[in-house]
Symmetry: C2
Subunit: 737 residues, 2 copies
């Protein structure tokens, strides 16, 4: 790692919030306390698709302890209009309708009404007493079903809400020239982010008209935007305080219960808390889409990719705005291909409205592309990493969706994979006669995002600083942000006290998502620290009556005068008062990140069980601010990728009910399912960021399913085309042979 | 009022925190909730002066529910040194000793030990089981007693801890030249600020070594400074969150229970809350000093004051650092006298360490001076306001304590008093035969202070702004600060959302005291708003590609282009991200304020009861940002001045026990005791402040006792020389005639 120029960047200090988190002191969504609290419960639809004929709340209202009941009619009935709440333009009625159904329910678990009562039990019991009469309607559950002629429609509009097309060159003509063409179809399952903490929110509609929200969210300002929009309030009438968050992975960007709690608070005049249970989370929050993908790739005799075509049909869930867009951006992003045609379809189905999930849409796409690349390599008898290197995207490569790559680390990641001891290590003998071993590789891309961030740094008299920012800390970003400030200030990172504050206290800050927090909020911290140094330089100049004060390595100097940061910090009051630096950014030049996986598996051919023997994740971090956190992201993304490669799926009954909505039945990997995951950080600094940071939270989930599919193929000679690749599906595939 | 140039300044908008306060939602010190909370109780000394022979906590420790017990030995035993924690230099051992007594108790109510238990009752019961063996010592209870030869000493040092001397000219020689000399002696009682909310604090010594405090305080950063000093931690290891505060008046600047709660938290590993009761407040917190004052004033035949001498002996209480210093600065501040000699004595007595109380020290002094001035006026047969005008301080007048007055409003206040209809209105006939009526006047001065303040303003997309600051809001300062920002930003004050935040979130901000908050934090808000306009002007320039953008009256303009503040606010994200302005100040040029009172009384000569018939308070506000709040301060100061004029006093037994430590026996004025108080704001802008603000919180308490004494003299012909002027003392004085 090229951390030579830095004192703090690249080190591994303890996290500032560590003690609170390991001692149980951190306040998560459901922990928040406030006097007079009522408890909310949400009544959810048992049907995947039905007309709501009537809602009778009288029995519920009579239940002891019930204070308020709300339905969709309690929202301000502002006329429908197109709004952009941070996830693209969409009708207001859709945003509102997903929070509380109106007229129709569109998925099992769709919220219909809510109750506030003096105890959680009373609220739950009363919710069950709300009489809703439904007329069930036919449902569609997959993208191909939704696209089929005559399919049942969820809304007035067609089920295909967006058809995205990207093209460069002439793919059809180029395929004619190809020495070899492989075309395959793939299916991926609907999977959930599976964050450990269910959604939890408390709302207080105050007597002064302002609404306060305390909740577990990836973006307090997004909650502010959505809640103010749905309640028809100016954004400044809503104050959102983010609690600690027990994971999100994209699934805690959408807003579900916050506006409902607010409506209940307005009705009751008291604060109301709603806490989801796991079933609510599975059925009432947004999973990532299942998909159907067809990928066709043509190469010349030397293995040079000359043509590519992709058809991506992704489930949108019950409302438009699914994850197919990023899928189309990432499906061929790793390769420099002159002729490409991509069609992406966002398809309404009777499942929860889909949400982001760690590089949303890219994992599905990479499963397809990287399986096809692997097959091409085998047919061409070229080492699969060599084949990828021969075609790898690099600075200047133009993507089919438009942009030209700036400096990226695709080649460096592939070279690191090739050079890694894992890649050349022997696979070893299978553990028993019915077992076979194989090795697979794959790479993946995620573009990362910018968005606004704000940071304010106040200097304490003891030479430390307090840093406030608005990015929910999911993966240690308090510390990775503090480190960037400390680097500039020339002080130990323990001397920076970072705090995540509410929306009244800091400038607009985008979501913790898109791998942007260390990148963008860290950038704001860097700039705010520079602002502090500028102001302190002025103070030193005042003290010394000098105009040539320089700051370097934590020391202010002019001639023979010098003061350390801490020494000058002690003199601020007398020289003009406190020093507070601030900066806001809205960077556009997020640096995309490539990640690669080498995976060894052993498959039991009798049971179809896949055991992962060795797993290596390699990723370009740009600059690894805190390598442990980068490694943690790589391991976390790997485990999740393994989960949806091998086990995870929404198991739906034909009438659209999820039949495995518990963590016992929805099979996420446990510590027994995954081996230790080796990591190797590649650093190809992002030239647009002051420290070279790229986002590292997402690209790592992209390659695992493809790498495992390729490893299974290596072991068994079968090409799995459907996720999850669980034992029954492997046994079934083997049976076809 | 000269508010013509302003849109917001001088208006009377609703307060931002009003709804929370009238609906009971505001969180005061005792309301704060946190999981795992323990309750603390403090054991206090029953003796005014005693040696602590032994402390045995074993019985208390065995009491059910007790989790921790602490004494002074639990403080880090750092060597004694001189510290300055915002109230002048003092030995660390004194600060520590006042929080928990070590070796000796110095006043009844002195904290000796504390218990944390699972319920408040258990903590109180257990505290009583701590066995402390005392050897009582002789006590001194007044300043003259403390100064007497052979008086019992509280500390190693002499009871007179400071002898302050100010002089200009040659007072002795000048008295020889005087046509008339009046010299009188006065006594004032120890009185308490009587804030409605007793002290309350919660502390959590966290596992990461940081201490968090939530408390009712006038200065969160002072609490941070004191707690960190006593616990031997860097200031940044302590985070103080100020709750709402139910009054302070200076009495919530000192720190009492916060370090004790922190020690109990360290011992118990849990958060600990301590809440004082009213008796604790009277006996264990700092009242303002009783005093003995001798004032001698000489005038020439035309009533021109040519010589003045004052002897001020103030109770320090149990530790040095009493309020005599400001007394010496204010005693003759209203008058331009060429020859002055002032001696001030800070005298240790066995009462609680005194604290600031609204213009601390000045009310005592003005009672003396203004009584003597009134007597001179009568002897010279000059109208008392005319006599004062003839001698009034004005710009350029040098005070005996050194500084030369900048632009002040002493003359303007006196002229407003003279012109006020009250001054020429007939007194009316007494209500019964045994009643007599009289009118009195007096003026008073308070210098006000500066100190650091910090402010950060973030712009919302809806054209509003969020403003954070660190000044506890006692008298509506959220709004008076927000108004100054709104004036600069050209937006309605309701569009500024002010919040008082914790010490981790804002730059160092001094106490809400010294009438500084609207002045200094308002100044920071003004500057931060200017910073916002600077940044937004840059954005407008970027949008229009123009370098001539001007901002006026809420509109940015360049050529034919224009954008309102709100319109531009909606365009910030796309033009570079959030706009956040900040400013910090540490102003030295606080503008002193003069206040005058005209009071009519009727005295029942049989009972001695004084009924106030009419009361007019007139004060120079510099610039009245929010006139209602200025009037509120004037009325509040008047009521408190009436209280210590007529009724309030610490009634002490000879062995130093307070015998009236309840609000039933310590007789504060109720609504039945005071008439409506008329106010008239004078505005002589402070040239050093961007809006001309002076402080208005204090000068108004200074004249009432003297004005009432002068009114009583006018009614009865007796000169009251001792506060309070309660019925028995008036009857006694009448009996002497």
């Amino acid at each position: 790692m090229s951390t030579a120029p830095y004192n703090i960047i690249g080190t591994r200090p303890p996290r500032h919030d560590g003690a609170d988190k390991v001692t149980g002191r951190a306040i998560y969504g459901a922990d928040f306390q406030i006097n007079g609290l009522l408890h909310g419960a949400v009544l959810r639809s048992p049907h995947a698709h039905a007309r709501i004929e009537s809602v009778d709340t009288s029995r519920a209202a009579a239940y002891p302890g019930v204070v308020a009941i709300v339905t969709a009619d309690d929202f301000p009935q502002t006329p429908d209009r197109i709004v952009d709440l941070g996830e693209g333009e969409t009708p207001l009625s859709y945003v509102r309708g997903n929070v509380l159904a109106k007229g129709k329910v569109l998925y099992q678990g769709h919220a219909v009404a809510a109750v506030a009562a003096t105890s959680p039990h009373a609220a739950e019991q009363a919710a069950k007493l709300i009489d809703v009469r439904y007329t069930p309607l036919p449902c569609v559950l997959t993208a191909p079903e939704g696209m089929a002629p005559g399919a049942s429609k969820l809304h007035e509009q067609e089920n295909v809400t967006h058809h995205i097309q990207h093209a460069i060159g002439d793919a059809d003509a180029a395929f004619q020239q190809a020495a070899i063409v492989v075309e395959r179809e793939f299916h991926t399952a609907t999977v959930h982010q599976g964050y450990i903490e269910p959604h939890a929110a408390t709302a207080l509609w105050n007597n002064d008209g302002r609404v306060q929200i305390w909740c577990s969210t990836q973006g307090s300002f997004v909650v502010r935007d959505v809640v103010s929009c749905l309640l028809d309030l100016p954004v400044s009438q809503v104050k959102v305080t983010p609690t600690e968050i027990g994971g999100g992975f994209g699934g805690k960007i959408p807003v579900y219960i916050e506006p409902v709690a607010a409506l209940l608070s307005r009705r009751s005049g008291r604060p109301v808390r709603i806490v989801m249970n796991r079933r609510d989370v599975f059925e009432g929050s947004g999973p990532t889409p299942g998909s159907f993908i067809r990928v066709k790739l043509g190469a010349d005799a030397e293995g040079r990719f000359i043509a590519a075509r992709a058809h991506l049909a992704y489930e949108a869930g019950a409302y438009p705005g699914g994850m197919v867009g990023p899928g189309t951006m990432c499906v061929f992003a790793a390769y420099d291909i002159p002729n490409v045609a991509i069609d992406g379809y966002d398809v309404l189905v009777n499942k929860p409205s889909t949400a982001a999930y760690r590089a949303p849409g890219a994992t599905n796409a990479a499963f397809a592309t990287e399986s096809v690349v692997d097959e091409l390599a085998r047919q061409l008898k070229i080492d699969p990493l060599e084949l990828r290197l021969r075609n790898a995207s690099r600075e200047g490569t133009r993507r089919a969706d438009g942009p030209k790559f700036r400096r990226i680390g695709c080649v460096e990641v592939l070279e690191a994979m090739k050079a890694h001891p894992h890649y050349s290590a022997p696979l070893g003998a299978a553990s028993h006669a019915a077992a076979k071993r194989g090795r697979g590789t794959a790479i993946g891309y995620w573009f990362n995002i910018g968005l606004p961030s704000s940071c304010v740094i106040s200097v304490n008299a003891d030479g430390t600083v307090n840093l406030i920012e608005g990015s929910t800390d999911i993966g240690g970003t308090r510390t990775s942000i503090a480190m960037q400030a400390a680097e500039v200030l020339g002080i130990p990172v323990a001397d920076v006290h970072p705090a995540v504050v509410d929306t009244d206290t800091i400038g607009y800050t985008g979501v913790t998502g898109g791998s942007r927090t260390t990148y963008a909020t860290g950038w704001a911290a860097h700039d705010a620290a520079k602002d502090v140094i500028r102001l302190m330089t002025e103070r030193a100049a005042k003290i010394w009556q000098a105009d040539d004060v320089q700051f370097a390595n934590g020391i202010f100097r002019s001639g023979n005068n010098q003061l350390t940061f801490a020494e000058l910090a002690a003199k601020l009051t007398e020289t003009g008062g406190p020093v507070v630096g601030q900066a806001s950014v809205n960077p556009k030049a997020a640096g995309g990140s490539f990640a690669g996986v080498i995976a060894d598996v052993e498959v039991d051919v009798e049971t179809g069980k896949v055991t992962i023997l060795r797993f290596t994740s390699i990723q370009d971090a740009g600059r690894a601010i805190h390598p442990s956190y980068v490694e943690g992201q790589m391991q976390g993304g790997s485990v999740q990728g393994i989960g949806w490669a091998l086990n995870e799926e929404y198991w739906m009954s034909p009438d659209g009910r999820m039949v495995n909505s518990t963590l016992l039945d929805y099979r996420m990997p446990t510590i027994l399912d995954v081996p230790p995951i080796d990591t190797q950080i590649v650093e190809v600094p992002n030239p647009a960021h002051p420290f070279g940071v790229r986002g590292v939270g997402e690209a790592n989930i992209v390659p695992p399913p493809a790498a495992l599919a390729n490893a299974i193929h290596d072991a068994l000679g079968i090409r799995m085309s459907r996720l999850p690749m669980n034992p029954p599906s492997i046994v079934a595939e083997l049976a076809k042979q």
